[in-house]
Amino acid sequence: MLQFERWKIWTISLLCALGLVYAAPNVMPQSWREALPSWWPKETVNLGLDLRGGSYLLLRADVDGLKDTWLKNLEADVRKLLRAEKIGYSALGRAGGGVRVRLLKPEDKDRALTALKTLVEQVGGSVFTGQVSYNLSITEESDGSILVSPTEAALTERVRSGMTALIETVRRRIDQLGTKEPLVQRQGFDRIVVQVPGFDDPKQLKDVLDKTAKLSFHEVDLSMTPSEARERGVPPGSRIYPSTDGTGDYLLKENEVVAGDELVDAQPSFDGQTSEPVVSFRFNTSGARKFGKFTQEHVDLPFAIVLDDKVISAPRIISPILGGSGQITGHFTVESANNLAILLRSGALPTSLTIEEERTVGATLGSDSIEAGRIAALIGTLAVIFFMILAYGTFGLFASLALIVNGILLFGIMTAMQSALTLPGIAGLVLTLGMAVDANVLVFERIREELRAGKTAIRAIESGFSRAIVTIVDSQLTTLFAGIIMFWLGSGPIRGFAVTLSIGIFTTIFTAVTVTRLIIAVWLRWANKRQRHIVVPI
């Protein structure tokens, strides 16, 4: 047990040195870090949001909304197809998880089916089973109507691609805030986790996330006022929209002139005359053409700018806007103009988001926590070292050396893995150091027993190690179980604790058993030369 081949000594030393290399940048001042040779990894440990400050949001996507949008588009497609084929229908609407059409004349059925079949696409199939799946199923119902409904496979695919698009949009919006290393991740079926380090204004974060930001430009229906429409019925093709500031309603044509997805840019700026904050935008070519044509035909008439079904403003068209750019006015503040520009630039969300959990830590609390954690870790370690030396003398000193190597390795691995160190993680670190000496205590107590039983120093040390090791592994494994379950359970800070605790188990077994044994072996060689009868200093 106490014989170490040369290669083993080298491997152990190399591992410790590697840990030191990775851990070292954490305690170096910036200038030192920059002066390091290029092969040296320069990352410092990745601090969790609770230590460096920042915002964490858990959002849930409205998946039903995604399906709903699809059905709405499907309905429009079916209507368009039947109109193009000049097939009359008596009823067309969403029903039974799809779109149901009742034809006026039963003899049109075959023509209608042929037309509707053009909507069917293959959405992938299995190479192995040879089965092909389609996006839609078209069924004739017993009462003669036709049901066009999305297949399960297509719905799943839609939700998947919808979520991907959603995450992309969320990421674009957050990137626009100009923060460092934001993290946007899908979690589970319909959730998105957003972590923005160093950003402790959750209000602005929420402002750019909780709006779908579907922008559209509409013609104002001037045939009657909104209140008349409410009394006498809304004219077909029109709808009443509320305004964003709640000051009044507008009667608008439902079909949009141009939609927000034809925007290529949006920037906050100031109105040339009133110096009021506004949002300037630019359309792409087709958007510019549509907008130009519309404004040409409607000079002197108002048009409405609608965001998420609410009217931002309804300015009058003074002259045709042919260049494809314009500006949105609407009593903005500098901040709200900026936010709207961000939303428009990054595009509309395919569906709406609900914030389910929010945690924000300010930078000062974070740095206070780091400071507290550092002091606690330092004092905890020193106290444990003092106690170990008091209890086991020179061997206690050896154990303390191993403990320091343990700390360095743990920190080095955390740095190399870039897994987040959180405040509970620091607690895990301190706890690991406190419990790590358990392995040494087990070995040393065993050595004492063997010595009392009359064994020689070398025999006592050897059997102390060999008999304690199974117990050490046993007892550390149970903590590992707890750590793994915690990792699965937790998010953020708790996960940080679980990671530190679990890594600590491996570094502890390595240092408390292998490293300590190596140190003792070296000491034995030294003692052998000097003493006839080795007295174990324990």
């Binding site: 020179t394 117990t471 494994l477 915690m486």
Partner: protein
Amino acid sequence: MLLNMKGFDFFPHDLNIDFMRVKGICFAASIVAIIASIGLFLTLGLNYGIDFKGGALIEVKTKAGPADLGDLRQRLGGLGLGSPQVQTFGAPDDVLIRIEEQPGGEAAQQAVIAKVQGALGDTVEYRRTEVVGPAVSSELRETGAIAVACSILAIIAYVWFRFEWQFAIGGTLALVHDVALTVGLFSLLQLEFDLPIVAALLTILGYSINDTVVVSDRIRENLRKYKKMPLAEVLNRSINETLSRTILTGGTTLIALIALLIFGGEVIRNFTLAMIWGVLVGTYSSIFVAAPVLDYLGVKRDWSGGNRAKGEGVAAGKA
């Protein structure tokens, strides 16, 4: 000199405390404590944090000297958010505001922060804001309970696999004891019980079974060594032999935890407190709960002969 220091042996090694003589009293006391804890849990309940109950938590630091709690309460009371809990947090100018879950789903929770910020304005620095909606809090309750249950099951399975079933029962009872007493303490003192406390509970489970495993290892070793010795005496001997280790390890762990408690800041105070308590009850339970169970249940003594039990081969060379 540095290389030949002798340690200070804290424990006289001819110690032979008769633990088994008091096992009846201690065991009874443990059972009473478990029942009392369950009683507290059922009557007083736990002071759940927002992780499990939903709602909002805001930590602020007042900019103008020590916080006037009465004034803060008054300003927040008029917001129609129920009755906000306002208390200092570690320092006189550091205040923790807790607001219960509002009716009206996820969006209503989000509105809380804006209202509080509107009421307090720039007079304070916002150090921390946390909002947990109803969906997340109910999930956390569920996963928290599952995690504790899974940990206990995993550990039982492990102990059962490594030892005889009597050891597994003793270990399980010790774990139940530790969890119950920790929950009982939190209920009695009405300390806030949130997700980090569940993490502390899981760590306590790991620590406690660690202790139990060390003692059990020694019991099994001595059972083989002293085949004719009465079981109670073997148990006593094993506990006494491992006592110095039990107390030293408990000691170093407690030292580290006390450093955390004093210097680690207010945010993890309850977490550390739970852990300290857990180390204490965990150490107690491996001596006074797990071992006596073996005495009550009895354990197979015949380790020799043709009936080579599965435990024996594995156990060879055990500390």
